[in-house]
């Protein structure tokens, strides 16, 4: 019995194998895009904001870029990973800020899922970006309304957030459009 165990241990030591995870092309795409998105998110978190919630959302450029360059699946992974990783780095995991970010991202992804079915002859990243940024702020406001501040007074903020969504959505969309044009990928 003892010798058998020894033999087994020896065997185990001898044939110690290196665990190798097989990565697919999709994994590489997701990893690359997520890394850039997390970086942009972190840069953005340092920037001062005139009021809570009004942020440029430059990481969404990467989400949109991934939709056009790769696939919706990649974009979905990038967006969700970005939310989780950024909140872990900034120490806001499971805090209200994280929940708001997640709800915004989920609704914005849902909108993108339907928006990419629009005829691409007439709709460029600019329009899609505006749509998704509106969805993003809508997701956040819905969560604020039902969970954080269950009071009708937050409707006062809709015009301000709407203006910010249009402005930043447009700028982000334009940047994405220029990036895609520059890379001449499609």
């Amino acid at each position: 019995m003892r010798s058998a165990l020894k033999y087994w241990a020896n065997q185990k030591l001898m044939t110690r194998s290196i665990i190798k995870i097989k990565t697919t092309l999709l994994d590489h795409q997701i990893a690359q895009m997520s890394a850039i998105a997390i970086g942009l998110s972190l840069i953005e978190s340092v920037l001062p904001s005139p009021m809570p919630g009004v942020k440029p959302g430059i990481a969404n450029i990467i989400t949109l870029y991934a939709v056009y360059r790769f696939s919706f699946k990649t974009a979905m992974w990038v967006s969700v990973l970005r939310v989780f990783a950024t909140s872990l780095i900034l120490g806001q995991f499971l805090s209200p800020a994280f929940m708001l970010s997640l709800s915004g991202s989920v609704l914005s992804l849902l909108t993108l899922y339907f928006a990419i079915k629009l005829p691409s002859k007439f709709f460029s990243p600019v329009g899609l970006s505006v749509l998704s940024s509106f969805a993003h702020i809508a997701g956040q406001l819905i969560l604020v309304r039902i969970w954080l501040i269950p009071h009708a007074s937050i409707y006062y903020l809709i015009p301000i957030y709407g203006t910010a969504a249009l402005l930043f959505g447009f700028i982000n969309g334009w940047i994405t459009y220029r990036l895609l044009q520059h890379h001449n990928s499609i």
């Binding site: 092309l25 999709l26 939709v67 056009y68 360059r69 790769f70 696939s71 990419i116 629009l118 005829p119 691409s120 002859k121 007439f122 709709f123 460029s124 990243p125 600019v126 329009g127 505006v130 749509l131 509106f134 009071h151 009708a152 007074s153 409707y155 006062y156 809709i158 015009p159 709407g162 203006t163 969504a165 249009l166 447009f170 969309g173 459009y177 895609l180 044009q181 499609i186």
Partner: protein, 133 residues
Amino acid sequence: MAILRKKITLKLPTKFFIGDSLIVLISLIFIVFAFKAFWHFETGSVVQVNFQGKTYGNFSLFQDKKISLMGKEGESIIEIKDGRARFKSAPCKNQYCVQQGWIHFTGQMLICIPNEVSIEILGKSKAYDSLNY
């Protein structure tokens, strides 16, 4: 790689931005509508004066009137004129209530905590504010 490339169905439009213009236009209309719907400030018609935790009385804004209240700190004078109301003078140290000046929109409020006096503009409908939540 080839398989992935094939999946791409989205193309960049070269010159047509019709859809985008439509989206931007609709969002602009939505924003204007939102500003009108949520940021309409109604001019009030009645001022409610609260004194020492109780309603002292409701007074029409369309009159010239001075209300004098003797509180713990001293005399607070509320002035009503031209459809507006203000604290004309207050006995408190900071004078916050006096310095806020005239109020005339529904839901606006002036509060003097040391002397336990507050005034609020009332209208046809009660406006949203964070105080009465």
